[in-house]
């Protein structure tokens, strides 16, 4: 057991005018996760500490927060890899509801703009649609997104321009545009090549560093850009 100092940014906008920092010391076993620390604080010191959590092993995407300046999942951060002083803030760029809980409505709305579902009006075959391993390879990384919001929250363009689709929504677009079974290529591409879409990505790579699933988000966006350009010249021939 070792003592850690959790410095947490607390804020209840309905009751306070500005965020406050509060420090807690917590006894932690080296095998424990940062999330366990937050739960200990909530259970033992301050029941008002508010954060989201569910699966506790990095697949549901609930507990994304800013940990020592870097976005990540509290349940995927092992305490033994942390310094003794840990600073925890809510994800940036989303409005705070309470403490570490942010309002992600806008974030989810962005994804909906890119028609985030497989579209194929052709009569389906009796059995599964065939998809070669190579075709699937293209989308394998993009389907692992857990919509935790870490990427979009780390994007400087999104900080200043909330109309930008953001990395998560663009990755969603990629997931369907490059799915060999999808047939809404033109429509979906049209939804991302406007001024607030692809072109607001300036290859800053913060999203790649923020992604807890280690998805090369910028790489995927770059492929979309190239596809858009290729498509532009093909159509204008």
């Amino acid at each position: 057991m070792k003592t850690y100092n959790f410095k947490i940014k607390r804020f209840n906008p309905s009751e306070e005018s500005s965020p406050q920092w509060q420090e807690f010391s917590v006894q932690m076993d080296p095998m424990e996760r940062l999330l366990d620390g937050l739960i200990k604080i909530k259970d033992n010191s301050d029941g008002t500490l508010t954060f989201r959590r569910s699966c506790a092993h990095g697949i549901c995407g609930s507990c994304a927060m800013k940990i020592n300046g870097k976005n990540g999942l509290a349940c995927q951060t092992l305490i033994k890899n942390m310094p003794e002083r840990i600073t925890i803030e809510p994800l940036a760029a989303y409005p705070v509801i309470k403490d570490l809980v942010v309002d992600m409505t806008q974030f989810f709305m962005k994804s909906e703009e890119v028609l985030p579902y497989l579209i194929n009006a052709e009569t389906p075959p009796e059995r599964e649609r065939l998809q070669s391993k190579d075709e699937q390879q293209k989308i394998l990384e993009s389907i692992t997104c857990i919509m935790c919001g870490s990427c979009t929250s780390s994007c400087p363009t999104y900080w200043s321009d909330k109309e930008y689709l953001g990395p998560a929504a663009l990755l969603k677009a990629y997931r369907f545009i490059f799915d060999s079974r999808d047939r809404a290529f033109d429509e979906r591409l049209g939804r991302i090549i406007h001024a607030q879409g692809l072109w607001r990505c300036h290859s800053i790579y913060n999203c790649v560093e923020a992604c807890p699933k280690e998805i090369d988000i910028t790489g995927h966006i770059t492929e979309l850009k190239r596809l858009a350009v290729k498509n532009f010249f093909k159509r204008n021939k």
Partner: protein
């Protein structure tokens, strides 16, 4: 705020969303979830979803049926199992058409792998039946279903915590829920209501279940006088990461991983000579606990090793990227180099809200139903899993019976009146919150909750006996009293998660009591329920379902015969 919908669905996991897609074709649908839809625990399902597609080797629904019946230790209702296994192929193809990115064979078909208890030709040898998307099958299916809900205009109410399901005169009128973000109470009047709220693994200390898996709706219905079926059967998954309970899918054993003890012996060969490490979960869990009890745990400690070093590196990284990452992150172990310490972890509730094959909730052991109330998924008990669920049958259960419930609700809605929830029910829900917030006492929620979870783990997990269960029942009763004295520090209306913890804890206590009492009354060993004092299966007296009813502060039991069609009970050997 009052909402009017044709169908209200509680829970946005696979069962809820699959039902929503169906019901939305015929009317307005609201889906309530206390998380955000894609955060539902279905997303954690790793290994696969079963169907006798025969893409990799010959297979048939008949074999699938046999395996499931045998896996259930003959407690599963065979008519329901037959429906599930027959519908499995169509279901998987449909999911594929909806966009699920299944892993593929070299010909581009859906790939399949071996899973525990799934065999060819009635038990001969393991068969490749589990369709998968690497080791993120649940995530892949849940995402696709959620995505397909979008163009259908299904209304999502995210972060709404259900306070009550209102039943009057044998009809369900709808749901009362708390909007977590602002503490407002919302009323959902509905023609039909589907409970698809998932499992309740959080009654145990070590579990693969999410924090959200607290079984709120089962407890609400139980309190309303409805029965809960077969609650003594709780599955422990053999391979949870030691100390954490995070799951390592059975799929790894399907691809060649093996369990080994301190003597580096592949001990499953002794327990299930035919299918070895692919024995069903109840047997594998018991085998591991027996090895540990008899001193063959690793280094004298309470765990065994799961050896994945025998799986080719490429297979490991292609098909199990997620668990490879888990092992590295949480244990600091690269599974391609070193074996992983594992221990059984509370995983899946076979029992739940009794329903018929169309999801209609039964109000007694004689197949009477509640109008307008449905249940599907882990919270329901059809019962297709009987005393022990086979791996990759749970995802199948959710989508097959979720869809059927959706169709049934759409049918019933045509001639049904929309429910009308009365003022006093709403006031009751509001006062529950008020009372919980204002409660005074010296107990802290964290302490009492971990006491309950530890007791359940110690006295009601893989091995059980009369003495322990009796002790447990009285302990739960003490905990119930303590819970009356839990004080909350958070009094605010905004995102009060401490309040939710308290409400959920009440439900956990309630369910623990039902589980412990059900386990105590069943004096035999069957499937996941193993009694040291009654180690044999007793078909003469106990080939029947348990129906638990609430009677004041105790639990009362009735029983219902098992539906047997094709396969007569036999000794269960693998």
């Amino acid at each position: 705020m009052i909402h009017q919908f044709d169908t209200v669905i509680i829970g946005s996991g696979l069962a809820g969303l699959r039902a929503a897609i169906e019901a939305a074709k015929y009317g307005s649908v609201a889906v309530l979830t206390k998380l955000f839809p894609t955060r539902s625990h279905s997303t954690s399902a790793q290994g696969g979803i079963g169907a006798a597609l025969g893409n990799e080797e010959p297979d048939s629904p008949e074999w699938h049926l046999y395996d499931t019946v045998k896996g259930s230790d003959y407690l599963g209702d065979q008519d329901a199992i037959e429906i599930m296994c027959e519908d499995a192929i169509r279901t998987i193809v449909e999911l594929e058409h909806l966009g699920v990115p299944f892993s593929r064979t070299t010909e581009g078909k859906i790939a399949q792998r071996r899973f525990g208890g799934h065999t060819r030709n009635f038990g001969e040898a393991p068969v490749r039946r589990a369709c998968y998307s690497a080791d993120r099958t649940g995530h892949a299916v849940l995402s696709a279903l959620y995505e397909q809900c979008k163009p259908l205009g299904i209304n999502f109410f995210s972060e709404f915590h259900v306070l009550d399901i209102v039943i009057e005169n044998n009809k369900c009128h709808g749901v009362i829920a708390l909007q977590i973000e602002n503490g407002e109470i919302h009323v959902f009047n509905a023609k039909s209501t589907l409970v698809a709220s998932g499992g309740y693994g959080k009654v145990f200390k070590t579990t693969s279940n999410a924090f959200a898996s607290t079984g709120d709706c089962l407890s609400i219905l139980f309190n309303a006088g409805l029965p809960l079926e077969d609650m003594e059967f709780f599955q422990f998954h053999p391979t949870g990461l030691y100390g954490l309970g995070i799951l390592i899918t059975e799929g790894v054993r399907g691809e060649g991983g093996v369990l080994i003890n301190v003597q580096s012996e592949r001990f499953m060969e002794r327990y299930a000579p035919a299918i070895k490490d692919l024995a069903p979960r109840d047997m594998a869990s018991r085998a591991i606990m027996t090895e540990i009890k008899e001193g063959r745990g690793i280094d004298g400690k309470d765990y065994v090793h799961l050896d994945l070093t025998r799986i080719p590196n490429q297979v490991l990284s292609e098909r199990f990227p997620e668990i490879t990452t888990f092992c590295k992150i949480y244990m600091g172990i690269d599974p391609s180099e070193k074996p992983i310490p594992v221990l059984p972890t509370a995983h899946y509730a076979m029992g739940g809200i009794p329903t018929d094959a169309d999801g209609r909730v039964l109000n007694d052991e004689k197949a009477g139903v509640i109008k307008g109330l449905y249940a599907a998924g882990e919270c329901a008990c059809v019962s297709v899993h009987g005393a022990n669920r086979l791996g990759c049958n749970s995802l199948l259960d959710t989508v097959v019976f979720g869809r059927r419930a959706g169709i049934a609700m759409a049918g019933e809605n045509k001639n049904a009146e929309r429910g009308n929830i009365h003022r006093d029910a709403i006031d009751n829900a509001a006062s529950l919150i008020d009372l919980t917030i204002k409660r005074k006492g010296d107990q802290r929620i964290g302490d009492v909750r971990s006491e309950l979870q530890t007791d359940m783990m110690d006295l009601c997990s893989v091995f059980r006996n009369e003495q322990g269960l009796k002790e447990l029942v009285s302990k739960i009763s003490i905990i119930e009293d303590k819970a009356e004295h839990i004080t909350l520090k958070d009094k605010s209306k905004i995102f009060n998660t401490e309040l939710l913890d308290a409400i959920e804890f009440g439900h956990l206590i309630n369910l623990s009591k039902v589980i412990a009492s059900s386990a105590l009354q069943r004096e035999e060993s069957r499937g996941a329920h193993f009694r040291d004092d009654f180690p044999q299966r007793d078909d003469a007296d106990w080939l029947k379902h348990t129906f638990a009813f609430k009677k004041e502060r105790v639990v009362e039991f009735k029983h219902k015969p098992v539906k047997i069609t094709k396969f007569q009970p036999e000794e269960r050997k693998y």
